[in-house]
């Protein structure tokens, strides 16, 4: 069982389109699929999972003040560092569940309740089992939710002798990214030849280096700016990162989104699909 995570640093570089196409190209293998972008997930649009099991996710605690017991002494407000308690003793969403107020209250007026942070799903797709989630809008703990579905996917994969776990990662370099890349065999950074794409790729690759994770770079839409693509190759060479392939700009990719299918499936002979096939071959070679 090998795990491949697709990340980017910058959003909108093509992670999800590429992940879905990688999955469709690996159709003849036993796959488990994870959508680790739990607060703006899109992979389901292309893979059309039918939900088999659904679970509530409680990411932490939230304080609740019993107004009948509260004497408004102000002690809780004075210790809360998250400005989560207003002057009327209402708790806002800023509460991080630290229990400081609960522990400090002399009148036992504060209770800690489980905080509902989202749902996670185990679903069936025509490519394999899919593990995905929906974070409640604006909730924290996206990292924990990602860890939760990764755990479930791993357990399933060990049991069912899965060949590959394919993970569609979130943008950025924060909590959910850290949770997505932890324990992976390989990470693939999808970047684009824009100055923002380059800067974001450098930051996320530094994180991967620090964690000692093996990774490669794919330049998507490389022909939109050849000069910047060259710049990416130079930076990667300097840092000892392998650019494992380049994908040309291809209108079929956007057309495939409108058709709600992976582009490698709808347009197998299109330039993007041909390039991706080569990249995937190389990745598998590196993995095995």
């Amino acid at each position: 069982m090998k795990q491949i995570v697709i990340i980017s640093g910058k959003g909108g570089t093509g992670k999800t389109s590429i992940t879905a196409s990688v999955i469709s190209l690996l159709k003849n293998h036993n796959l488990a699929i994870i959508d680790a972008d739990v607060d703006a997930s899109n992979l389901y649009i292309l893979l059309k999972p039918s939900i088999e099991k659904e679970f509530d996710f409680y990411g932490g605690l939230i304080a609740y003040i019993d107004k009948l017991k509260c004497v408004k002494c102000g002690k809780c407000i004075s210790v809360c560092r998250f400005d989560a308690i207003d002057s009327e003793y209402n708790i806002s969403n800023l509460c991080e569940g630290c229990k400081f107020c609960y522990n400090v209250c002399d009148f036992e007026a504060i209770e800690m309740k489980n905080r509902f942070s989202g749902k996670w799903f185990v679903s069936n797709t025509s490519y394999g089992k899919m593990f995905h989630a929906r974070l409640e809008p604006g909730e924290e703990n996206s990292g924990k939710l990602v860890s939760k579905i990764k755990e479930a996917a791993k357990e399933y994969s060990l049991d069912k002798k899965i060949d590959y776990i394919i993970v569609d990662g979130p943008p950025g370099i924060g909590c959910p990214v850290m949770a997505s890349i932890s324990g992976t065999d390989i990470a693939v950074i999808v970047t684009e030849p824009t100055l923002s794409g380059i800067s974001d790729m450098e930051r996320v690759s530094n994180v991967l280096f620090t964690l000692g994770i093996k990774f490669f770079v794919v330049i998507n839409k490389f022909d939109i700016n050849l000069e910047n693509s060259q710049k990416i190759e130079n930076i990667c060479k300097e840092k000892g990162i392998e650019v494992i392939g380049k994908i040309p700009f291809d209108e079929n990719v956007e057309k495939a989104i409108a058709l709600t299918r992976p582009f490698a499936e709808s347009f197998p002979d299109s330039p993007a699909s041909i390039a991706l096939k080569k990249i995937l071959e190389k990745i598998l070679e590196k993995l095995n």
Binding site: G9, K10, G11, G12, T13, T16, D37, D39, A40, N42, I45, G60, L61, V79, R81, F82, N93, E96, G97, C98, K99, F100, N103, V104, M112, L135, P137, G138, E139, E140, S142, G143, P170, P171, G172, I173, G174, C175, P176, V177, M178, E192, P193, T194, L195, S196, S199, D200, R203, V204, V207, T210, L211, I224, N225, N228, E254, I257, A258, T260
Partner: protein
């Protein structure tokens, strides 16, 4: 006045919109709140006049005073501080700590004190008439929402503030858009764009923030606009699909410096003024 620019989906054009609007709005300050992947300075190219290190408090245990009573781990909701009575040791895991201060407060021995540890930096500068403040999260750190809130505390409130928010709909996005007078939500006319836009709209509605949608890479004869209208979503402008814009973006150029695109943004700004 605070205007935030958010999106849900990444790569829809938040930074393009925020940087270009900052040139049109008088007395403006652009605050880069995408602290994980900050890009405003690539476009604005500000001259940096000041840098500050941002820290959070973390507990440190004085071993001579500690009698391993276990009170600290008892009050810690995150299991960040653990006491092993047998080996008389205290083990602290920084990445789990929320810097709430409870362990320090409750330690009967007064053996815990707080030390500052760096999570990132904030830089200040300007380009022409546009002031700039941007926060950069240290690579490997996960305290993005805390850094965003710190940046917002420190910026000059007498300015008209434009906030470049991070993508997604999570706690970082909330930290960036909270307290704004208006949120511009940038989307693209794809199913991905629509899906994430609707999630982000949910968030700003919950927060009671006025908002309008800006459609980027707009193509005539697409029914995207009608879909938004049918959901009663207010459209405040459109930026046409244009390969030259994509090229200028890739080189980190400002669009309003070109008369052809200046008009597009002026129109958006006019619409925005009516709503404020």
């Amino acid at each position: 006045m605070i205007i935030s620019v958010a999106s849900g989906k990444g790569g829809t054009g938040k930074t393009t919109v925020s940087t270009n609007l900052s040139f049109l709005i008088e007395n403006s300050l652009i605050a880069d709140c995408d602290v994980e992947e900050p890009n405003v300075s690539i476009f604005l190219k500000p001259e940096i006049s000041k840098k500050e290190i941002v820290t959070l408090f973390y507990p440190e245990v004085n071993k001579e005073l500690c009698n391993t009573c276990g009170k600290c781990s008892e009050v810690c909701a995150y299991k960040a501080i653990n006491v092993f009575k047998k080996s008389k040791s205290v083990f602290f895991m920084e990445h789990l700590c929320h810097s709430c201060g409870a362990c320090t407060y409750f330690c009967p021995q007064k053996a815990i004190f707080e030390v500052s540890k760096r999570i990132g930096i904030i830089e200040y500068g300007r380009y022409k008439d546009v002031s700039y403040a941007g926060a950069v999260l240290d690579e490997g750190n996960i305290k993005a929402p805390q850094l965003i809130r710190e940046l917002k505390k420190r910026i000059d409130k007498t300015k008209n503030i434009i906030i470049d928010a991070p993508p997604s709909t999570s706690c970082s996005m909330v930290a960036a858009v909270e307290d704004s007078d208006f949120c511009i939500m940038v989307t693209e006319p794809t199913l991905f764009g629509l899906n994430d836009l609707l999630l982000a709209v949910d968030v700003v509605k919950k927060m009671n923030i006025k908002f309008g949608v800006l459609i980027n890479r707009f193509r005539e004869n697409s029914d995207f606009e009608n879909i938004l209208k049918s959901k009663n979503i207010n459209i405040i402008g459109k930026i046409p699909f244009d390969i030259d814009i994509a090229r200028m973006y890739s080189r980190g150029e400002i669009l309003v410096e070109n008369p052809k695109y200046r008009d597009v943004f002026l129109k958006i700004y006019e619409n925005l003024k009516k709503l404020l």
